[in-house]
């Protein structure tokens, strides 16, 4: 009896001692954090510019081998061309601390990125969303709520045939556009860690 009381007392003490610092980030169903960033071309871009639209956010870093593989395979271009007719907006965000606007402009030019590439060098927007990897994908529905977050697909090593891969973003977009619930709303993202400033 005394041992149990002592344990309970310790549990209460540990519960009270120091609030845990939790990572910023969004839960599905939350309102997507608003942001205003400058893109690689120098234009100001805010999430509120796209109010009422489905928005896909892709976290990127051209120095990351996972990003390099996806750009070689044209993953983002395939998504943008498949869904732009449906009015889906694609935004790429770069929270890499050592890449300024010029570096991002060079990347956009090299890869032919025709959609906004947002420069988040101080990492504030990355932290607001809880972006952990490059790539890390988020889908925001027309009501501004996050409805998907996680990996772009189920193939971190790129070892599956393209036909065998499940692209979680395409799958979720099909469901969102059809007014259905997202069947896989959250997956573990894969990739290099976002290179936030220390």
């Amino acid at each position: 009896m005394i041992k149990m009381l002592k344990t309970l007392t310790l549990m209460t003490m540990i519960a009270a001692a120091g609030a845990a610092v939790s990572n910023a980030g969004v839960d599905n169903g939350d309102q997507a954090p608003s942001f205003a960033l400058t893109d690689a071309a120098g234009s100001k871009v805010s999430l509120s510019d796209y109010s009422g639209k489905v928005v896909v956010l892709e976290w990127t870093n051209p120095d990351c081998p996972f990003v390099q593989r996806h750009y070689q395979e044209g993953s983002m271009k395939k998504l943008t061309s498949a869904y732009s007719d449906s009015g889906v907006v694609f935004l790429t965000v770069n929270s890499t601390n050592y890449m300024d606007r010029d570096a991002n402009a060079a990347f956009a030019k090299k890869e032919g990125i025709s959609w906004p590439l947002l420069v988040d060098q101080d990492g504030a927007v990355g932290h607001a969303y809880g972006a952990q990897t490059t790539p890390h994908m988020f889908i925001i529905n027309k009501d501004g709520k996050v409805v998907y977050q996680g990996a772009i697909d189920d193939d971190p090593r790129g070892s599956k045939d393209a036909a065998e891969r499940t692209n979680y973003v395409a799958q979720a977009l099909d469901q969102v556009l059809a007014g259905k619930a997202v069947s896989t709303p959250e997956t573990t993202p894969y990739g290099c860690s976002v290179k936030y400033k220390k």
Partner: protein, 270 residues
Amino acid sequence: MLSAVVAVFAAGAAVADDSHVHARLVSDFDPVDGGGRFHLGVVLEPEPGWHIYWRNPGGAGLATDVTFELPEGFRAGELRWPTPVSFIQPGGIIGYGYESPVLLAAEVTAPDVTDRPVPVYVTASWLACKDICVLGEARLAAELPLDVAARRRSAAAFEAWEASLPTAAEPGRVSISTTGGPVAAGGTTALVVWLQWSGAPANVEFFPDPGPALKVDNVRTRSRGQLTRVDIDVTRIQGTAEPAQSLSAVVVTTDGQGHRTGRPLTINLD
């Protein structure tokens, strides 16, 4: 097929260097010992300042992968993972893995005692990171048994390896309970894992090993005397794998001499 394999062995491909990691094939196979069960694996040694990742890489990264190509009748068991370390990547992103040489290996069973050379391939692939990340791979080949000197080095490596693997705790050493469950589908559950120790460890670390059906974030570990509290956020990944009934983890205690011991845990989620 066999002649092609022998041709590669002539090139001595049991070691390789790629992407800041030195890889070396090790095996204690010795037909004189009866040869029925032996170990086969690879020592991966990251360059100073670089790390590779554990089976669960943490908030980012890529699990190291090791596969075996064996002759007919030889069967490799599960790959075994030595107790990892954790590191914080910029932005507070936790990583689990290895900063010093690690032996990733499996137990292999042979179909019968043989004194013919046994050709094997061990392929390791990894993500090595320091300030940037680089993918690496090595396909190592050997004819077993290795030469006497290599066999002796391997035997020593496997002895140390056994001690580096997470091992079940002695009965009564630790008792586990959880609060905050069950972990429902949809949404994220804040689970608390309570560990009651029979002695008071100097330090306690918690390494979740969620597998394909779960996502674990935000691990916070606090200890006071004989009680440790681990807060974790658990999310079920829907529409992919079979739902998980439990969460595996490795809990690591450090004793007064600074020696780390890993213990596997199973945490019920229902």
